[in-house]
Amino acid sequence: MNLTLFIQQLLNGLSIGSIYAIFALGYTLIFSILGIINFAHGAIFTLGAYLTYALMGEAFGFNGLLANAALPIKLPFPLALILGSIIAGLVGVAIERIAFRPLRRRGADPLLTVVSSLGVALIVVNLIQYLVGAENYTFPGNTFGNLPASINFGSGENPIPIRTVQIVIFLVSVLVLAILTYFINYTKYGKAMRAVAEDPTTASLLGINTDGFIVLTFFISSFLAGVAGTLVGSSVSIAGPYFGIAFGLKGLAVIVLGGLGSIPGAVLGGLLIGVVEAFVPGQYSAYKDAVAFGILFIMLLVRPQGLLGRRLIQKV
């Protein structure tokens, strides 16, 4: 492999890896607070992509209930991305209300909550399919305005062209990660959120509105899923309502690699899996989707707490 190809693949890997990172952070935030994995996360990812697509004023196909429908507004991509992700976040809050809170109130088995989130995933994905059909949707050609299709990072005689989309994705992801890191580590709300994650009962005794912060966590988590879904959708296409489920399963491999509940772990795990996938040789590309799951298995065998996770000690 020559150097140009190496750098290209590395940047491709970092670009997709940064999406894995923000997506997996959504899993991690909820896991660190509630100790459960929200299987509806992948469905919200799908939803975010469709919402952004719709907010840009693009029409849907002729299958489904909303055949050929389009919103009367045509928002530019950045605005649609933010608004679509906010709506995705609000859907996350609604999901918490309907499917998680009643079980938490009762102190139900975490297993039941996991199952309930699977149910929500099934509803969201199939509702999308029911409304707008199962076809592929591609974001319009001018999504990124007048930016060129690719930017040359090498010299004139030794070009290293990188798709602009990849760079946009990487920059957006880094920006989101920076804001989130600042919020969690350096603001009062972030501190309170970490306190709730550490010990909800003690946190509520100290006057922190635990339920409020759980709602906030669901909002942020689902917002991140919406951003990730939109970024993947705009770089490739929205491959039907189920594309978030497959991505969501891969996100599980990311959090196991990084360590369940570890925020830096989710970022590291995402970037690593992105880069490893990018370096799968072309003739084996059909097996690319299995790589992340192979990594998950190996981690369970050798280091179940993940790269940066804390070893869980069960107290009686």
Binding site: V115, G119, A121, I123, D289, F293
Partner: protein
């Protein structure tokens, strides 16, 4: 009668197979472990039967010999059992959600492999799997005894030491460990028994359905069978059997309901095309309002008392 069997034969056999898959998910749940692997082992068993019957065993004219079918089911059971142990041990040493994660990874790896390997026929799958029986309903000769034997064994299991250990682990793994029960051993055992059952059901299904492809064992299928077990009842083996049967027949039932005259068009359409939305709603409502499922041990006791 003959007409009834011709029309509903395939559905009845599917319902029996659905009940077997329900039981295969119920076994790990007995120890409180969420496994999403049953459709994976089901797909694996199906591929084993499909490959053996189309490529290995001599195919002569006429129907496929039944002893060979049973041999395929046995091989599927052995392979599923070995793989069950291999997947189960790393995941079940750990407490918590790890089995669900490992089984998701397992199902996905199997799916990618079956889509890309030559021997599984790639995305097209395997066609023309030979038929041991003349009509679909005759599959009951194998499927029904299989279900009855499994049910009997589970009925026994629930009252002997092994089953008690399963339940003890589900209620409190640490306490069970302190009582001298080895949680990992019993969890792997329960998971492996479930895998074997799913593999055997898959081997039979491949012949029954005549074709086999990568769509057989997906994440979706995992969720649907999980629903059937949880709604049916996850505290006694009767729940998964009833749940598996009803949920296999549910698409047909919904289709029939959708044809009732006088129903609003949007509702009829939702029942016909939005089957999975209905499933999802059932899962969420079921976990909130019937955490033990519809068929609970208490309910069975009540029925027994009334009979006396």
């Amino acid at each position: 009668m003959a007409e009834f069997l011709n029309t509903y034969g395939p559905l009845i056999v599917s319902m029996v197979l659905g009940a077997l898959l329900g039981l295969s998910l119920y076994l790990p749940l007995m120890t409180g472990q969420l496994s999403l692997a049953s459709p994976g082992f089901y797909a694996l068993g199906g591929y084993i039967a499909a490959i053996l019957s189309t490529q290995v065993f001599p195919t002569n004219e006429g129907s496929f010999p039944i002893p060979l079918l049973l041999l395929e089911m046995l091989i599927a059971a052995i392979v599923s059992g070995i793989l069950g142990v291999l997947v189960g041990i790393p995941a079940l040493r750990l407490r918590g959600i790890y089995l669900a994660l490992a089984t998701i990874a397992f199902v996905e790896i199997l799916r990618v492999l079956s889509l890309n390997l030559e021997i599984t026929g790639g995305a097209v799958g395997i066609f023309g799997i030979p038929q041991p029986f003349a009509s679909p309903i005759e599959y009951l000769w194998v499927a029904l005894p299989l279900l009855l034997i499994s049910m009997f064994l589970l009925y026994r299991l629930e009252i002997i030491r092994f089953g008690r250990a399963f339940v003890a682990i589900r209620e409190d793994e640490l306490a069970a460990g302190a009582m001298g029960i080895n949680p990992t051993y019993y969890k792997v055992l329960a998971f492996t028994l479930g895998s074997i059952l799913a593999g055997v059901a898959g081997a039979l299904s491949a012949h029954f359905l005549n074709t086999w492809n990568a769509r057989q064992g997906t994440f979706d299928a995992s969720i649907i069978y999980l629903t059937s077990v949880l709604i049916g009842g996850s505290r006694t083996f009767v729940g998964p059997v009833l749940g598996g049967m009803v949920f296999t027949a549910l698409p047909e039932i919904l289709r029939a309901v959708a044809e009732t005259p006088g129903l609003p068009i949007w509702l009829a359409q939702l029942l016909r095309d939005g089957r999975l939305i209905v499933f999802g709603v059932l899962i969420v409502l079921g976990t909130i309002f019937f955490p033990q499922g519809l068929v609970t041990p208490d309910l069975l006791k009540k029925i027994k008392r009334q009979e006396q």
